[in-house]
Amino acid sequence: MTVLDRFLLLLTGLLAAWQIVVGVDNLSALPTIAYTIAFGVLLVAGLLLIILGFEVLDAPAVVIVSTIIPLSLSLGLVWEHSASWRTLYLIFAIVGFLAVTMTRSIPTPGRIPTLVLAFVHGVAGMTIFLLPIVAAAQGAGKPAFALVGLGGALIGLGGLLLSFLKAGKPILPRETILKVLPGLLLLMTACFVAGFRWG
Protein backbone atom coordinates (compact mmCIF):
# COMPACT_ATOMS: atom_id res chain seq x y z
CA MET A 1 0.00 0.00 0.00
CA THR A 2 1.45 3.34 -1.04
CA VAL A 3 1.58 6.55 1.02
CA LEU A 4 -1.03 8.04 -1.32
CA ASP A 5 -3.36 5.08 -0.65
CA ARG A 6 -2.98 5.61 3.09
CA PHE A 7 -3.58 9.34 2.72
CA LEU A 8 -6.76 8.77 0.69
CA LEU A 9 -8.02 6.22 3.21
CA LEU A 10 -7.24 8.61 6.07
CA LEU A 11 -9.24 11.35 4.31
CA THR A 12 -12.09 8.85 3.84
CA GLY A 13 -12.00 8.03 7.56
CA LEU A 14 -11.92 11.70 8.54
CA LEU A 15 -14.86 12.51 6.27
CA ALA A 16 -16.85 9.60 7.70
CA ALA A 17 -15.96 10.70 11.26
CA TRP A 18 -17.05 14.24 10.46
CA GLN A 19 -20.36 12.99 9.06
CA ILE A 20 -20.96 10.94 12.23
CA VAL A 21 -20.30 13.99 14.42
CA VAL A 22 -22.43 16.48 12.47
CA GLY A 23 -25.16 13.94 11.64
CA VAL A 24 -28.13 14.84 9.47
CA ASP A 25 -30.51 17.54 10.71
CA ASN A 26 -33.98 16.77 12.08
CA LEU A 27 -33.82 13.00 11.92
CA SER A 28 -35.53 10.52 14.20
CA ALA A 29 -33.58 7.86 16.07
CA LEU A 30 -33.60 5.04 13.51
CA PRO A 31 -32.12 6.86 10.49
CA THR A 32 -29.57 8.52 12.78
CA ILE A 33 -28.50 5.08 14.02
CA ALA A 34 -28.55 3.69 10.45
CA TYR A 35 -26.35 6.49 9.06
CA THR A 36 -24.02 6.25 12.09
CA ILE A 37 -23.59 2.52 11.48
CA ALA A 38 -22.92 3.05 7.75
CA PHE A 39 -20.33 5.79 8.25
CA GLY A 40 -18.98 4.01 11.32
CA VAL A 41 -18.23 0.88 9.29
CA LEU A 42 -16.60 3.08 6.63
CA LEU A 43 -14.45 4.78 9.28
CA VAL A 44 -13.32 1.59 11.03
CA ALA A 45 -12.79 -0.21 7.70
CA GLY A 46 -10.64 2.69 6.48
CA LEU A 47 -8.54 2.56 9.64
CA LEU A 48 -8.12 -1.21 9.40
CA LEU A 49 -7.09 -0.93 5.74
CA ILE A 50 -4.45 1.62 6.74
CA ILE A 51 -3.20 -0.56 9.61
CA LEU A 52 -3.38 -4.03 8.06
CA GLY A 53 -3.13 -3.27 4.35
CA PHE A 54 -5.21 -4.64 1.48
CA GLU A 55 -4.68 -8.21 2.72
CA VAL A 56 -7.48 -7.55 5.21
CA LEU A 57 -9.87 -7.73 2.23
CA ASP A 58 -9.13 -11.46 2.00
CA ALA A 59 -10.81 -12.09 5.39
CA PRO A 60 -14.14 -13.97 5.03
CA ALA A 61 -15.88 -11.45 7.33
CA VAL A 62 -15.31 -8.66 4.80
CA VAL A 63 -18.29 -9.79 2.70
CA ILE A 64 -20.57 -9.63 5.74
CA VAL A 65 -19.21 -6.33 7.03
CA SER A 66 -19.34 -4.69 3.61
CA THR A 67 -23.06 -5.55 3.40
CA ILE A 68 -23.72 -3.37 6.43
CA ILE A 69 -22.83 -0.12 4.62
CA PRO A 70 -25.37 -0.24 1.75
CA LEU A 71 -28.06 -1.85 3.93
CA SER A 72 -27.90 0.74 6.70
CA LEU A 73 -27.52 3.69 4.32
CA SER A 74 -30.50 2.57 2.24
CA LEU A 75 -32.53 1.95 5.40
CA GLY A 76 -31.84 5.51 6.56
CA LEU A 77 -32.85 6.89 3.16
CA VAL A 78 -36.07 4.87 2.97
CA TRP A 79 -37.00 5.86 6.53
CA GLU A 80 -36.41 9.49 5.69
CA HIS A 81 -37.93 9.74 2.22
CA SER A 82 -40.37 6.88 1.73
CA ALA A 83 -42.51 6.58 4.86
CA SER A 84 -44.88 3.93 3.44
CA TRP A 85 -42.00 1.48 2.86
CA ARG A 86 -40.38 1.88 6.28
CA THR A 87 -41.50 -1.34 8.00
CA LEU A 88 -41.08 -3.51 4.92
CA TYR A 89 -37.60 -2.18 4.24
CA LEU A 90 -36.57 -2.57 7.89
CA ILE A 91 -37.60 -6.24 7.67
CA PHE A 92 -35.70 -6.60 4.37
CA ALA A 93 -32.57 -5.03 5.90
CA ILE A 94 -32.62 -7.32 8.95
CA VAL A 95 -33.48 -10.48 7.01
CA GLY A 96 -31.03 -9.59 4.23
CA PHE A 97 -28.18 -9.07 6.66
CA LEU A 98 -28.97 -12.33 8.49
CA ALA A 99 -29.21 -14.19 5.18
CA VAL A 100 -25.80 -12.92 4.01
CA THR A 101 -24.28 -13.72 7.42
CA MET A 102 -25.73 -17.23 7.51
CA THR A 103 -24.89 -18.17 3.92
CA ARG A 104 -21.32 -16.96 4.52
CA SER A 105 -20.93 -18.67 7.91
CA ILE A 106 -22.66 -22.02 7.37
CA PRO A 107 -21.71 -24.25 4.42
CA THR A 108 -24.44 -23.60 1.83
CA PRO A 109 -24.86 -25.56 -1.42
CA GLY A 110 -24.42 -24.24 -4.94
CA ARG A 111 -24.87 -20.63 -5.92
CA ILE A 112 -27.20 -19.69 -3.05
CA PRO A 113 -24.60 -17.52 -1.18
CA THR A 114 -23.81 -15.58 -4.39
CA LEU A 115 -27.49 -15.14 -5.27
CA VAL A 116 -28.36 -13.94 -1.76
CA LEU A 117 -25.44 -11.51 -1.79
CA ALA A 118 -26.29 -10.21 -5.26
CA PHE A 119 -29.98 -9.74 -4.34
CA VAL A 120 -29.31 -7.93 -1.04
CA HIS A 121 -26.58 -5.71 -2.54
CA GLY A 122 -28.64 -5.11 -5.65
CA VAL A 123 -31.75 -3.91 -3.82
CA ALA A 124 -29.78 -1.80 -1.33
CA GLY A 125 -27.54 -0.36 -4.06
CA MET A 126 -30.44 0.55 -6.35
CA THR A 127 -32.23 2.16 -3.39
CA ILE A 128 -29.22 4.34 -2.56
CA PHE A 129 -28.76 5.18 -6.25
CA LEU A 130 -32.37 5.94 -7.20
CA LEU A 131 -34.07 7.28 -4.07
CA PRO A 132 -31.99 10.48 -3.68
CA ILE A 133 -32.18 11.20 -7.43
CA VAL A 134 -35.97 10.75 -7.42
CA ALA A 135 -36.27 12.80 -4.21
CA ALA A 136 -34.17 15.60 -5.69
CA ALA A 137 -36.14 15.50 -8.98
CA GLN A 138 -39.46 15.67 -7.11
CA GLY A 139 -38.26 18.60 -5.02
CA ALA A 140 -38.24 16.62 -1.76
CA GLY A 141 -34.59 17.61 -1.41
CA LYS A 142 -32.23 20.14 -2.94
CA PRO A 143 -30.55 19.11 -6.25
CA ALA A 144 -27.31 18.40 -4.38
CA PHE A 145 -29.08 15.51 -2.62
CA ALA A 146 -28.66 13.57 -5.90
CA LEU A 147 -24.96 13.35 -4.94
CA VAL A 148 -25.98 10.66 -2.44
CA GLY A 149 -27.26 8.69 -5.45
CA LEU A 150 -23.91 9.16 -7.17
CA GLY A 151 -22.26 7.84 -4.00
CA GLY A 152 -24.64 4.88 -4.26
CA ALA A 153 -23.48 4.20 -7.82
CA LEU A 154 -19.86 4.33 -6.70
CA ILE A 155 -20.48 1.99 -3.75
CA GLY A 156 -22.22 -0.37 -6.17
CA LEU A 157 -19.23 -0.25 -8.52
CA GLY A 158 -16.79 -0.89 -5.65
CA GLY A 159 -18.97 -3.70 -4.32
CA LEU A 160 -19.14 -5.35 -7.76
CA LEU A 161 -15.37 -5.14 -8.28
CA LEU A 162 -14.66 -6.63 -4.84
CA SER A 163 -17.38 -9.29 -4.99
CA PHE A 164 -16.22 -10.66 -8.34
CA LEU A 165 -12.62 -10.49 -7.19
CA LYS A 166 -13.47 -12.51 -4.06
CA ALA A 167 -15.53 -14.94 -6.16
CA GLY A 168 -12.42 -15.64 -8.26
CA LYS A 169 -13.80 -14.02 -11.42
CA PRO A 170 -12.30 -10.52 -11.33
CA ILE A 171 -13.69 -7.91 -13.74
CA LEU A 172 -10.37 -6.06 -13.55
CA PRO A 173 -6.96 -7.34 -12.43
CA ARG A 174 -6.55 -7.39 -8.63
CA GLU A 175 -3.76 -4.79 -8.80
CA THR A 176 -5.97 -2.38 -10.74
CA ILE A 177 -8.87 -2.82 -8.32
CA LEU A 178 -6.63 -2.20 -5.31
CA LYS A 179 -5.10 0.79 -7.06
CA VAL A 180 -8.46 2.51 -7.58
CA LEU A 181 -10.13 1.34 -4.34
CA PRO A 182 -8.85 4.09 -1.95
CA GLY A 183 -9.80 6.83 -4.43
CA LEU A 184 -13.17 5.22 -5.06
CA LEU A 185 -13.88 4.99 -1.32
CA LEU A 186 -12.93 8.64 -0.83
CA LEU A 187 -15.03 9.83 -3.78
CA MET A 188 -18.00 7.76 -2.61
CA THR A 189 -17.76 9.09 0.96
CA ALA A 190 -17.34 12.66 -0.32
CA CYS A 191 -20.50 12.27 -2.43
CA PHE A 192 -22.49 10.99 0.56
CA VAL A 193 -21.22 13.73 2.86
CA ALA A 194 -21.77 16.50 0.31
CA GLY A 195 -25.22 15.14 -0.56
CA PHE A 196 -26.33 15.07 3.08
CA ARG A 197 -24.73 18.46 3.77
CA TRP A 198 -26.11 20.45 0.85
CA GLY A 199 -29.00 18.25 -0.20
Binding site: A17, I20, V21, V22, G23, T32, T36, F39, G40, L43, V44, L47, L48, I51, L52, E55, V56, A61
Partner: protein, 287 residues
Amino acid sequence: MTALVRKIRLYWPLIKPLQTGLLLATGLAGYMSARCPIFNLGTVAAVAGSLSLAIAGSTVLNMWRDRDIDAKMERTQKRPTSCGQVADREALRLGLLLSVLGVGWAAAIDALYGLIVFAGLFFDVVVYTLWLKRRTCWSIVWGGISGAMPILAGRALGTGRIDLIGILLALSVLFWIPTHILTFSIKHREDYARAGIPTFPSTYGEAFTRAVIVFSSVLAALTIGGATLLIGIGAGYLRLFAVLSAGLLLLAFAAFRAQSERINFGLFKYASLYMLSAMLILATSAF
Protein backbone atom coordinates in the same frame (compact mmCIF):
# COMPACT_ATOMS: atom_id res chain seq x y z
CA MET B 1 25.75 23.81 15.84
CA THR B 2 26.39 20.51 14.02
CA ALA B 3 27.36 18.89 17.33
CA LEU B 4 24.11 20.10 18.92
CA VAL B 5 22.02 18.73 16.06
CA ARG B 6 23.89 15.44 16.34
CA LYS B 7 23.15 15.31 20.08
CA ILE B 8 19.46 16.05 19.57
CA ARG B 9 19.29 13.30 16.93
CA LEU B 10 20.91 10.94 19.41
CA TYR B 11 18.62 11.92 22.29
CA TRP B 12 15.41 11.93 20.22
CA PRO B 13 14.81 8.12 20.28
CA LEU B 14 15.54 8.12 24.03
CA ILE B 15 12.31 9.99 24.73
CA LYS B 16 10.16 7.64 22.57
CA PRO B 17 8.44 10.53 20.77
CA LEU B 18 5.27 8.63 19.81
CA GLN B 19 4.66 7.29 23.32
CA THR B 20 5.49 10.63 24.91
CA GLY B 21 3.22 12.36 22.40
CA LEU B 22 0.31 10.03 23.17
CA LEU B 23 0.69 10.53 26.94
CA LEU B 24 0.98 14.27 26.40
CA ALA B 25 -2.26 14.14 24.38
CA THR B 26 -4.00 12.45 27.34
CA GLY B 27 -2.76 15.19 29.68
CA LEU B 28 -3.93 18.00 27.42
CA ALA B 29 -7.29 16.27 26.84
CA GLY B 30 -7.71 15.89 30.62
CA TYR B 31 -7.04 19.60 31.05
CA MET B 32 -9.39 20.63 28.25
CA SER B 33 -12.13 18.29 29.49
CA ALA B 34 -12.49 20.63 32.47
CA ARG B 35 -13.85 23.31 30.10
CA CYS B 36 -11.58 25.87 31.71
CA PRO B 37 -10.42 28.84 29.60
CA ILE B 38 -8.71 26.68 27.05
CA PHE B 39 -7.79 29.66 24.96
CA ASN B 40 -5.33 30.63 27.65
CA LEU B 41 -2.47 29.54 25.47
CA GLY B 42 0.07 30.29 28.18
CA THR B 43 -1.39 27.65 30.51
CA VAL B 44 -1.87 25.14 27.69
CA ALA B 45 1.76 25.64 26.65
CA ALA B 46 2.90 25.29 30.27
CA VAL B 47 0.94 22.02 30.66
CA ALA B 48 2.40 20.75 27.38
CA GLY B 49 5.92 21.79 28.35
CA SER B 50 5.92 20.45 31.89
CA LEU B 51 4.27 17.15 30.95
CA SER B 52 6.56 16.65 27.95
CA LEU B 53 9.64 17.16 30.11
CA ALA B 54 8.43 14.88 32.93
CA ILE B 55 7.28 12.09 30.58
CA ALA B 56 10.45 12.34 28.48
CA GLY B 57 12.55 12.34 31.66
CA SER B 58 10.98 9.17 33.04
CA THR B 59 11.30 7.51 29.62
CA VAL B 60 15.03 8.31 29.44
CA LEU B 61 15.52 7.01 33.00
CA ASN B 62 13.64 3.85 32.02
CA MET B 63 15.90 3.42 29.01
CA TRP B 64 19.00 4.09 31.10
CA ARG B 65 18.00 1.40 33.61
CA ASP B 66 17.02 -1.14 30.94
CA ARG B 67 20.07 -0.69 28.69
CA ASP B 68 21.35 -4.19 29.56
CA ILE B 69 18.12 -5.98 28.67
CA ASP B 70 17.52 -3.71 25.67
CA ALA B 71 20.85 -4.93 24.28
CA LYS B 72 19.53 -8.51 24.38
CA MET B 73 16.32 -7.78 22.49
CA GLU B 74 16.30 -7.50 18.71
CA ARG B 75 13.68 -4.76 18.81
CA THR B 76 15.66 -2.50 21.15
CA GLN B 77 19.31 -3.38 20.68
CA LYS B 78 19.92 -0.37 18.42
CA ARG B 79 18.77 2.13 21.01
CA PRO B 80 21.51 4.71 21.71
CA THR B 81 21.75 3.56 25.34
CA SER B 82 22.00 -0.15 24.57
CA CYS B 83 24.55 0.15 21.77
CA GLY B 84 26.73 2.64 23.63
CA GLN B 85 26.10 5.72 21.47
CA VAL B 86 25.01 7.56 24.61
CA ALA B 87 27.12 6.89 27.70
CA ASP B 88 25.41 5.57 30.83
CA ARG B 89 26.11 8.66 32.91
CA GLU B 90 25.06 10.97 30.11
CA ALA B 91 21.70 9.18 29.81
CA LEU B 92 21.22 9.23 33.58
CA ARG B 93 22.03 12.94 33.78
CA LEU B 94 19.70 13.71 30.87
CA GLY B 95 16.85 11.70 32.42
CA LEU B 96 17.29 13.35 35.82
CA LEU B 97 17.55 16.83 34.31
CA LEU B 98 14.37 16.43 32.23
CA SER B 99 12.50 14.90 35.18
CA VAL B 100 13.50 17.63 37.64
CA LEU B 101 12.66 20.35 35.13
CA GLY B 102 9.30 18.76 34.30
CA VAL B 103 8.18 18.11 37.87
CA GLY B 104 9.56 21.46 39.05
CA TRP B 105 7.70 23.33 36.32
CA ALA B 106 4.52 21.38 37.10
CA ALA B 107 4.78 22.18 40.82
CA ALA B 108 5.33 25.84 40.01
CA ILE B 109 2.10 25.88 37.96
CA ASP B 110 0.01 24.22 40.68
CA ALA B 111 0.86 22.14 43.75
CA LEU B 112 -1.75 19.39 43.15
CA TYR B 113 -0.85 19.18 39.46
CA GLY B 114 2.85 18.96 40.37
CA LEU B 115 2.13 16.23 42.93
CA ILE B 116 0.27 14.07 40.40
CA VAL B 117 2.98 14.57 37.76
CA PHE B 118 5.55 13.55 40.38
CA ALA B 119 3.45 10.49 41.30
CA GLY B 120 3.43 9.46 37.63
CA LEU B 121 7.20 9.74 37.44
CA PHE B 122 7.66 7.90 40.75
CA PHE B 123 5.41 4.99 39.75
CA ASP B 124 7.10 4.69 36.37
CA VAL B 125 10.74 4.99 37.39
CA VAL B 126 10.85 3.60 40.93
CA VAL B 127 7.94 1.15 41.23
CA TYR B 128 7.68 -0.09 37.63
CA THR B 129 11.20 0.16 36.19
CA LEU B 130 13.51 -0.23 39.18
CA TRP B 131 11.44 -2.53 41.38
CA LEU B 132 8.91 -4.70 39.54
CA LYS B 133 9.61 -4.92 35.79
CA ARG B 134 12.15 -7.74 36.09
CA ARG B 135 10.28 -9.53 38.89
CA THR B 136 6.66 -9.93 37.85
CA CYS B 137 4.45 -9.58 34.80
CA TRP B 138 1.99 -7.69 36.99
CA SER B 139 4.37 -4.73 36.85
CA ILE B 140 2.28 -3.45 33.94
CA VAL B 141 -0.44 -2.50 36.43
CA TRP B 142 1.98 -0.01 37.98
CA GLY B 143 3.16 1.08 34.58
CA GLY B 144 -0.52 1.60 33.81
CA ILE B 145 -1.08 3.69 36.94
CA SER B 146 1.88 5.79 35.91
CA GLY B 147 0.47 6.18 32.39
CA ALA B 148 -2.86 7.29 33.86
CA MET B 149 -1.30 10.18 35.76
CA PRO B 150 -0.97 12.73 32.90
CA ILE B 151 -4.72 12.72 32.18
CA LEU B 152 -5.52 12.93 35.90
CA ALA B 153 -2.98 15.73 36.31
CA GLY B 154 -4.46 17.68 33.40
CA ARG B 155 -7.99 17.27 34.72
CA ALA B 156 -6.95 18.22 38.26
CA LEU B 157 -5.25 21.36 36.98
CA GLY B 158 -8.39 22.35 35.09
CA THR B 159 -10.83 21.72 37.94
CA GLY B 160 -8.58 22.39 40.93
CA ARG B 161 -9.38 19.01 42.51
CA ILE B 162 -9.49 15.27 41.85
CA ASP B 163 -13.06 14.53 40.79
CA LEU B 164 -14.99 11.45 39.63
CA ILE B 165 -14.50 12.32 35.95
CA GLY B 166 -10.76 12.60 36.51
CA ILE B 167 -10.68 9.19 38.20
CA LEU B 168 -12.73 7.64 35.37
CA LEU B 169 -10.41 9.17 32.77
CA ALA B 170 -7.39 7.84 34.67
CA LEU B 171 -9.03 4.39 34.92
CA SER B 172 -9.71 4.41 31.19
CA VAL B 173 -5.99 4.88 30.46
CA LEU B 174 -5.12 2.29 33.13
CA PHE B 175 -7.48 -0.27 31.51
CA TRP B 176 -6.36 0.66 27.99
CA ILE B 177 -2.69 0.04 28.77
CA PRO B 178 -3.00 -3.79 29.04
CA THR B 179 -4.59 -3.83 25.57
CA HIS B 180 -1.63 -1.86 24.28
CA ILE B 181 1.14 -3.61 26.24
CA LEU B 182 -0.14 -7.20 26.10
CA THR B 183 -0.68 -7.19 22.32
CA PHE B 184 2.87 -5.88 22.10
CA SER B 185 4.24 -8.55 24.44
CA ILE B 186 2.51 -11.29 22.38
CA LYS B 187 4.12 -9.94 19.22
CA HIS B 188 7.60 -9.69 20.80
CA ARG B 189 7.35 -12.62 23.24
CA GLU B 190 10.62 -14.20 22.06
CA ASP B 191 12.46 -10.94 22.54
CA TYR B 192 11.14 -10.58 26.09
CA ALA B 193 12.01 -14.21 26.86
CA ARG B 194 15.56 -13.64 25.59
CA ALA B 195 15.92 -10.72 27.99
CA GLY B 196 14.32 -12.65 30.88
CA ILE B 197 11.46 -10.19 31.34
CA PRO B 198 8.34 -11.86 32.75
CA THR B 199 5.29 -11.12 30.60
CA PHE B 200 1.67 -12.28 30.67
CA PRO B 201 2.10 -14.57 27.63
CA SER B 202 5.19 -16.24 29.14
CA THR B 203 3.61 -16.57 32.61
CA TYR B 204 -0.03 -17.39 31.89
CA GLY B 205 -0.05 -18.37 28.20
CA GLU B 206 -1.46 -16.63 25.16
CA ALA B 207 -5.10 -17.67 25.54
CA PHE B 208 -5.33 -16.13 29.02
CA THR B 209 -3.47 -13.03 27.83
CA ARG B 210 -5.92 -12.55 24.96
CA ALA B 211 -8.82 -12.91 27.41
CA VAL B 212 -7.26 -10.20 29.57
CA ILE B 213 -6.94 -8.00 26.48
CA VAL B 214 -10.67 -8.37 25.73
CA PHE B 215 -11.56 -7.70 29.38
CA SER B 216 -9.36 -4.62 29.62
CA SER B 217 -10.65 -3.28 26.27
CA VAL B 218 -14.24 -3.57 27.53
CA LEU B 219 -13.34 -1.82 30.78
CA ALA B 220 -11.41 0.92 28.94
CA ALA B 221 -14.34 1.60 26.63
CA LEU B 222 -16.81 1.60 29.56
CA THR B 223 -14.79 3.93 31.77
CA ILE B 224 -13.97 6.44 29.07
CA GLY B 225 -17.59 6.22 27.91
CA GLY B 226 -18.73 6.97 31.46
CA ALA B 227 -16.36 9.91 31.66
CA THR B 228 -17.53 11.38 28.33
CA LEU B 229 -21.17 11.07 29.45
CA LEU B 230 -20.44 12.83 32.74
CA ILE B 231 -18.49 15.55 30.94
CA GLY B 232 -21.58 16.03 28.77
CA ILE B 233 -20.03 16.05 25.33
CA GLY B 234 -22.39 16.47 22.37
CA ALA B 235 -24.43 13.66 20.79
CA GLY B 236 -22.32 13.72 17.62
CA TYR B 237 -19.08 13.17 19.50
CA LEU B 238 -20.76 10.44 21.56
CA ARG B 239 -21.78 8.67 18.34
CA LEU B 240 -18.23 8.88 17.03
CA PHE B 241 -16.87 7.62 20.31
CA ALA B 242 -19.34 4.70 20.27
CA VAL B 243 -18.25 3.75 16.73
CA LEU B 244 -14.55 3.81 17.64
CA SER B 245 -15.23 1.81 20.81
CA ALA B 246 -17.22 -0.77 18.84
CA GLY B 247 -14.22 -1.12 16.50
CA LEU B 248 -11.90 -1.70 19.46
CA LEU B 249 -14.16 -4.30 21.04
CA LEU B 250 -14.77 -6.17 17.79
CA LEU B 251 -11.06 -6.29 17.07
CA ALA B 252 -10.30 -7.45 20.63
CA PHE B 253 -12.88 -10.25 20.34
CA ALA B 254 -11.55 -11.16 16.87
CA ALA B 255 -7.98 -11.33 18.24
CA PHE B 256 -9.21 -13.56 21.08
CA ARG B 257 -11.10 -15.86 18.74
CA ALA B 258 -8.72 -16.08 15.79
CA GLN B 259 -5.43 -16.14 17.74
CA SER B 260 -3.88 -14.47 14.71
CA GLU B 261 -0.63 -12.51 14.75
CA ARG B 262 -1.99 -10.15 12.13
CA ILE B 263 -5.17 -9.30 14.02
CA ASN B 264 -3.14 -8.99 17.21
CA PHE B 265 -0.87 -6.44 15.51
CA GLY B 266 -3.94 -4.69 14.10
CA LEU B 267 -5.40 -4.45 17.60
CA PHE B 268 -2.14 -3.01 18.93
CA LYS B 269 -2.15 -0.26 16.29
CA TYR B 270 -5.90 0.35 16.51
CA ALA B 271 -5.73 0.67 20.30
CA SER B 272 -3.18 3.49 19.95
CA LEU B 273 -5.35 5.22 17.35
CA TYR B 274 -8.38 4.69 19.57
CA MET B 275 -6.75 6.39 22.55
CA LEU B 276 -5.48 9.28 20.42
CA SER B 277 -8.92 9.69 18.83
CA ALA B 278 -10.67 9.56 22.21
CA MET B 279 -8.35 12.29 23.46
CA LEU B 280 -8.97 14.40 20.36
CA ILE B 281 -12.72 13.97 20.88
CA LEU B 282 -12.40 15.07 24.50
CA ALA B 283 -10.25 18.04 23.56
CA THR B 284 -12.18 19.25 20.51
CA SER B 285 -15.60 18.76 22.11
CA ALA B 286 -14.58 21.48 24.59
CA PHE B 287 -14.60 24.12 21.82
